[in-house]
Every structure is written in structure tokens, then in C-alpha cells.
Symmetry: C2
Subunit: 267 residues, 2 copies
Amino acid sequence: MDASFDLSDDLILAHRLADAAGRAILPHFRTPDLFADNKEASGFDPVTVADRAAEDAMRALLAEARPDDGIRGEEYDCVAGRSGRHWVLDPIDGTRGFLSGTPTWGVLVAMNRGDAPVLGVIDQPYIGERFWGAEGQALCRGPHGERAIRTRAPRPLGEAILFTTFPEVGSERDRAGFEAVARGVRLVRYGMDCYAYALLAAGQIDLVIEAGLAAYDVQAPIAVIEAAGGIVTDWRGGPAHQGGQVLAAANSDIHAAALARLSSFAD
Amino acid sequence: MDASFDLSDDLILAHRLADAAGRAILPHFRTPDLFADNKEASGFDPVTVADRAAEDAMRALLAEARPDDGIRGEEYDCVAGRSGRHWVLDPIDGTRGFLSGTPTWGVLVAMNRGDAPVLGVIDQPYIGERFWGAEGQALCRGPHGERAIRTRAPRPLGEAILFTTFPEVGSERDRAGFEAVARGVRLVRYGMDCYAYALLAAGQIDLVIEAGLAAYDVQAPIAVIEAAGGIVTDWRGGPAHQGGQVLAAANSDIHAAALARLSSFAD
């Protein structure tokens, strides 16, 4: 492999990006009367000052450290790059959670070489907790130390814990697909934003199902979950790194069980 | 006031109780294959080893420090007491969140003198975050320091943020009541367990609506929210300290707006 693609350097940089984003965001978390744009005339998709400040901070670091790398972020235009490396940034995944004060939003940083991400970081700076993965190794560092993480071993669908952020999931069809799986599991929980992917990577839950995602919502979770032993696909079982309908699973058995119920609702 | 009812001593003891509970619980959080009883044949209401260990630890402290105080806990029989003070303990509020690894469960400690609680603590020991209140003063201590907290100022229902833990809320009628309010607000979020009450006390959100609660689920939140300037009642506007259908609101205006939609669904 070309030394210029050494993933350990990329991982160090990914941590620096997440650090910079967290520093930019935290002064704005849980402050009263946070400025919130309304990106969409219908619906509620606020963009905060914090969101932009964090992406600015990450782009400034990349411009200095990796002027030839591509960038795809939530807030600003893409940078095509010419190194073959692409950074995919979501400064605050879960802006509605952020505005509500829940510690479930996160900074998402991923790197890919044109398709699937090979490295990802999910960071929750209020708790001081970070989950990251690359090359088959995933770790978590939090208030109680650092440890390697692995996804859960297979169990029957009837014993599984399933997460999604909103009960409506996406379109009516998306919701019907979600509910086809939800009816078969032991416990369904809501409201965790990207933190649900971290819990899946950390071996706490079995399934996360979402719809209507963007690439920057899912690339870091894909990298962390795959490095921890899990599987992330779309609802047909194909690649999910462009977003859309996403099924994240702790292992191939529970992935197959969920996919059997979801696939007829795939776009 | 009788010096034996000095609330500052009670508050010091409440902190010690929450500390003891957190120490008992944390070694069991996010461990694989946590033992979980199933208290109810239908449904999913696990009791963990941690739950019992924490209530044991709190009861041991009370037996030593306050042998004459009453105790009402989730896991064991009531102690009637004869001092007029009653401690109301929920070692892990949000056991399903606990089993899923979410940092939304909490240790709840309240004290009352026979009816409404006068002092409460909501503690999230994984994050290291505590919210408490008594005598019109509420505070929060967390990863980023300690500060006084106040509930939000009035805003129209259409600008409000509403939380409940599960979309089904309780019975079909409970759900219908919840949805009557949910239709009128800006944002509805789920899945926060007792942490939602803490967010309300801290001025982050406007409303929490739940149903089917026990006294130990709600007495600490009532004390913290009221000390922070908010209001907690049942769905008729009466006392909520015995549990059941609960409406927690940041101020009297938003409380009235929500109650107008909820009251026809009151038990």
C-alpha cells in the first residue's frame, strides 16, 4: 500500500478534527436562545451557529494538513480534492437533539477513498465520550476509561433491541418497513440520534434502522460499526454509504432477520 | 420550623444516597449479559442486580442516619417511619434505557413530609451529572461545572419542545391525550427516561408528558422542577406526587396550554 495512505496518520487527524469540532460546539450547547436557522420551510431542521463553527474549524484543519484531500460536509460545498482521500463531516448530527439539550447528538468524521468509508469517529463532547474504528479495530473512550468494543453476538430477533430516532422514521412506507421489524423485537427505543450507532458498535443493542439519511449522517457510523464487527447496508442489503434507508446490525444473523422484513419496503 | 426538619441536612443526605446508588450501579452498566428479571409476565420491565444493589445501599445509609424516617422504594417493601419524613427512592429510573446502554436513566431520590416532595435529586452517574432542588433553588453539576438552573420562560405552544419516553405513552387513551398536545408543538422527542425532567428543570425543553407512573418515578422530578420554577400536575391539574398521568411544564402559561388539550383524556 502507498505510504501516503497510511491509515494511522488519518486516524490521528480524524481525532484532531473531532477535538476541534467539540471545542467549537460546546460553548453553544445548552445556552438559552440559541440562534437557529430553519433550513427547510416545512419541518424543523435547525442549523446552529455551533454547526457552522465546527465545520469551519474542521475545514481549516484539513486545508492546512491535507490541502489535496476532498471534503464533503453538511454545511458547505464539497471540495473535490485530488489525493483520492475524502473526508465526510457532520459537525452536529442530531441538531434537534442538540437544541433540546440531550447528550445524544454527535460529531461525525469519516474518511473514504471514493466509496465506502475506511475510518470513522462518533464523538459526544458533552459526555466526553468518543467511539472510533478503522481496519477491524474499534474503541471507545469515555468518562470511565478506554476500551476495545465489539458488536453483540447473534440472538433471535425476538430478543433484539432496536433503535430509531423518530417513530415516523421517514415516509409512510419507511415507517411501515420499520414497524415490520419492530413488531418482532423485544424492545424498541427512540431519540438517540447518532448515539444509537455508537451503542450498536459498543455491543449494547442489536439493530438501528433509519431512513432519509445523507452520506454525512452514515459514513462515520458505517466505519465504526464495521470495525466493531457489525454490518451496515441499505434496505436491499446493498451499500449504504450514500445514505437513504439504512439498516445497521450487530452481526450477519440479526442483519438477515431484519432484512427479510425490511426488503419489501426498500426504495 | 422544627430544627429536626432542617432541609439542608436532608439535602446533604440526599446527595449521599445518590452517591451510594451510583457507586452500586456503575459497575453493572454496559456490561454484557446483565442479569435481568422480568417483573411482569407481559411486557418488558427488567430488574437488574444493579437496581437492587443500589436500593440496598441507600436503605443501609438511611437505616444508619435516619432510623425513624419512612422509605418508599421501587424494589422493596415500604418502611412507615415515625419522624414524618419519607424518602422516595428509584435506584434506576429507566431500566430499559439502562439495559440498552443509553445514558438517560437516573437515580431518583426525593423526600416528602407525607404528601408533596420538598427535595429531589436526579442523578445520571455515567455522565457524572446531577440535578437537584429544594426550597426554590435548583442546581445542576456536570462534566462542565456547577450552575443554578431555571425553567424556560413562557412561549406559545407552537414553539414548545415536548418529551415523552415511549410513543405509546400508556393506554390508548393516554396516547390520544399525548397526541392532542403533540400535534400543537414545534418538536416532539422520545426516549429520555427521567433525563427529560432534568432537561425541563434546566430550561432546555417546555413539556414532559407521561402516564402510568409510580410515586417513586415522579417525586424527585417534581421537587427538582418546582424548585427550578416549573409546575408538575396530573392531567386534571391536581397533585401528581402519587404518579399516574403526569404533566410537567416549564411555567404556568405552557402548563395551561397543554392542560387544555390533555384534560379530556384524564383518568
